[in-house]
Amino acid sequence: MANTASQTPALEISKLQAWYGESHVLHGIDIVVQPGEVVTLLGRNGAGRTTTLRAVMGLTGARTGSIKINGVEAINLSTHRIAHLGIGYCPEERGIFSSLSCEENLLLPPVLKTGTPGMSVEEIYELFPNLAERRNSQGTRLSGGEQQMLAVARILRTGAKLLLLDEISEGLAPVIVQALARMITMLRAKGYTVVMVEQNFRFAAPLADRFYVIEHGTVVQKFSSSELESRMPILNQLLGI
Amino acid sequence: QEKVTIGFITDMSSLYSDVEGKGGAEAIQMAIDDFGGKALGQPIKLLTADHQNKADIAAAKSREWVDTEGATMLFGGTNSGTALAGAKVAQEKKVVYMNSGAGSSALTNAACSPYTIHYAYDTVALAKGTGGAIVDTGGKSWFFLTADYAFGHALEKDTSAVVEAKGGKVVGAVRHPLNASDFSSFLLQAQSSKAQVLALANAGGDFINAVKAAKEFGIDKTMKVAGLLVFLSDVHSLGLKNTAGLQFTTGWYWDKDAESRAFAEKYNAKMKRMPTSIQAADYSATMTYLKAVEAVKTTNADKVMEYIKKTPINDMYAKNGIVRPDGRMEHEMYLVEVKQPAESKKPWDYLKIVKTLPGATVFTTKAESTCALWK
């Protein structure tokens, strides 16, 4: 596991606070993710996990604190600049564009100048055969699950090495969930860094190197996969697993 | 002590604001100043408002001026709907109503009132003036391009009657919506009618764009273009190049004689443009009213009207004008033609008077009148 202190973290969040309009949602989040790690954020509904990812992307209202991406401070950068630091973001609500076809949706995110090429369209279609079949359909005419696949597939092309994935197993058939699990394992093997928000603990548990539990906009627990067994009781209490 | 208060309401901000508008208010103010600023020993007050071409605003304002400001004379402006509404208010409130901007002949016919004085022109006068004169000079077959509005219809109907009465023929007409902007299609229809005269029974922007398109399509080479409702501001805006040779009828032209020139220069010094015939009429009408008040020593509308109706008007606007029982101010009108660019010697030197049309020949006659007050 890549955990040498000398390395620059892929993502280093400290004292992150964020607001939606007047409601204060994040109250100081601290998260460090090393390159090549898979980290999962756990928590109840409304705990602020989605908001954490959105805050990293600069999609919330106001935010304060520090967000370093590969060592670059991003708290004051605008959203599109943040993306260019090498992040791929898959939103919870999927964000499939209805005025674009399935394939246009897939090709939409610009390839980032990160130096590493992303997956090719062929590779992606191999991973998600549904998409190949529906490639000329209007984006939002896809079924709920197909849209979810498309949302994930879309950011694999850009060459972004740090992926923020929000509830990607949501609404997918078990077979596809298994395929996604294999995909994440493969991505890690390829050196991607992944931050996942997951409700589906059984999906996330075998994949992640480390876990953070968020409650009311702060981190209340953090532990690595090796500590998972011992933490089960407390997780049970926090999340009702 | 009685006090003279004049309430002037016209279009100050849109379609018709160039022919009267602020300039009209200025002309009225000039008349007041020239009169000495006082009547019956009291300062004369002028109220102005923009009716935005809405009759309800015109009527409400007029009413309010009479009720709360003690207006003794209401001066209505362009736009027939507002004028008719205003005249109605004046009649109900028994105050003098003057108007020089609106063209509707209804003001002195079906809707005539003992308190209305329609001062400058109306559709009948324009029809008779232009129609008659052009048939006389050989324009026998006519095609109308008519704004699909009451004033357009009235112009077309009245002019057709004159043309036919004089032995001419109307070969066709096309009615276009107000603010039609593109006239090429209508003009081609006019052209294929093979008529000699193209009569434009429309006004303002429609007239201007129609003339421009006629020039562009070379219609003016095969047909004689006659404007039925044209003002100096229209000619100014189109330029002589586009309008040379155009004939129309007007009640006044600034370069008509020394008197009118004197007024025009004074006006020009203030407004940086020459007055239109309506603005000149505004001045004259105000003078007429003020003189009457001073003469009868009261603002009582009945007395003032009585005096005005029996006193001929002679000033820079009208020669031997008389206000008839139906409220129409009958005066000379002029058939004018737009000069060729080469003929124009100075700024605003646009028109030459082709023919003087005596008042009795251009306005509604007693026989034609539908006004109950003139029977």
Binding site: - | D50, K54, D56, A60, E64, D67, G81, L84
Partner: protein, 331 residues
């Protein structure tokens, strides 16, 4: 004092003010005109604020009814109450026709259908022989209410109009707080859900449309009675635009907003010149006296400011402010 009482106090004061207005030197005809537009705006708001349907053709109901009433009073010689009834009925009928088509579509498309149908009515009004073209239908007599009470006197007419407008306004308030209003609210919030609960949402929307149109018709009919004419500007699309502005300036979806909005807009139209003159006299800045010719410009400026600075509208902002204060009071 709680919110409800405050509102009741506000309405009470307004009503007392209106009752006493003619005796306080306020010009009754102007207030009547204001009342007509206030009713028009309130009727419009019933549709936009409470059903979420934006009609851009309300001029058709105002103007259509204005012509019918004018015709009834002037040509057919009916008494005013019959004229008003006919006007309202014609508003309702037009509303039924326009609404029938408009509810079949949603959003901007529905709005455009209302605009288009209203434009067709405008065309009819322009072409039809009885409307008098741009001269309008003039000199409509006020007549005698029930053949007995002469409305010639401004003051008498004023109280008649006031009673009618207040009654109509109460009807609107009641409609909003009725079982019907409750369903409308649900439809506005989530139409598919309302459908799945068994409501035939189109019929509810249609009834709301007809109600709004009928009341707009009443406003138009009253306006004819008060002013004595009906003209094209009542059926022109700008009148539809005007009522949108009144509602937004006053506060969309608030009961009192349209009243205030109508007052502000009508005042602007009618009184800006005087306000300008007053400002010139007090500040000695000559420029203000040109305000009278700049009604459209000032109106434009107000819209811009309204949208940028207080988009909840006047009443909307006041209510929000009161609620905030109440919220803080709790803490």
């Amino acid at each position: 004092m709680n919110f409800k009482n405050l509102a009741a106090l506000g309405y009470g004061l307004l009503l007392v003010g209106l009752l006493a207005a003619p005796f306080l030197g306020v010009y009754p005809v102007f207030v009547m005109k204001l009342l007509c537009f206030a009713l028009f705006a309130a009727a419009f708001n019933l549709l936009l604020g409470y059903v979420g349907m934006l009609s851009f053709g309300h001029a058709a109901f105002l103007g259509g009814a204005a012509y019918v009433t004018g015709e009834a009073l002037k040509v057919w010689g009916f008494t005013p109450e019959v004229g008003l009834l006919l006007g309202t009925a014609s508003g309702a009928l037009l509303g039924l026709i326009v609404g029938f088509f408009a509810i079949r579509r949603t959003g901007i498309y529905s709005t455009m259908i209302t605009l288009a149908l209203a434009q067709m009515l405008f065309f009819v009004a322009l072409q039809a022989p009885f409307t008098g073209g741009e001269d309008g239908l003039q000199a409509v007599p006020r007549g005698k209410l029930f053949g007995l009470l002469s409305l010639k006197n401004d003051l008498v007419l004023y109280y008649v109009v006031l009673v009618i407008v207040v009654a109509a306004f109460l009807l609107i308030v009641r409609t909003v707080h009725s079982p019907f209003g409750q369903v409308l609210k649900a439809i506005k919030e989530n139409e598919p859900r309302a459908t799945s609960l068994g409501y035939d949402t189109n019929r509810f929307k249609l009834l709301a449309f007809v109600l709004s149109a009928a009341l707009s018709g009443l406003a138009g009919a009253l306006k004819t009675l008060v002013m004595g004419f009906a003209t094209l500007s009542d059926v022109h699309w700008t009148a539809s635009g005007h009522v949108v502005l009144m509602t937004l300036v006053g506060g969309l979806g608030t009961l009192s907003g349209p009243l205030i909005g109508a007052a502000v807009v009508v005042m602007l139209e009618d009184k800006l010149g005087e306000i300008g003159q007053f400002l010139t006299d007090t500040t000695r800045i000559e420029w203000f006296s040109t305000l009278g010719e700049s009604v459209t410009m000032v109106t434009g400026l107000i819209f811009v400011i309204c949208v940028l600075a207080f988009r909840r509208g006047i009443m909307g902002e006041i209510i929000a402010w009161l609620q905030r204060r109440r919220g803080e009071g709790k803490l």
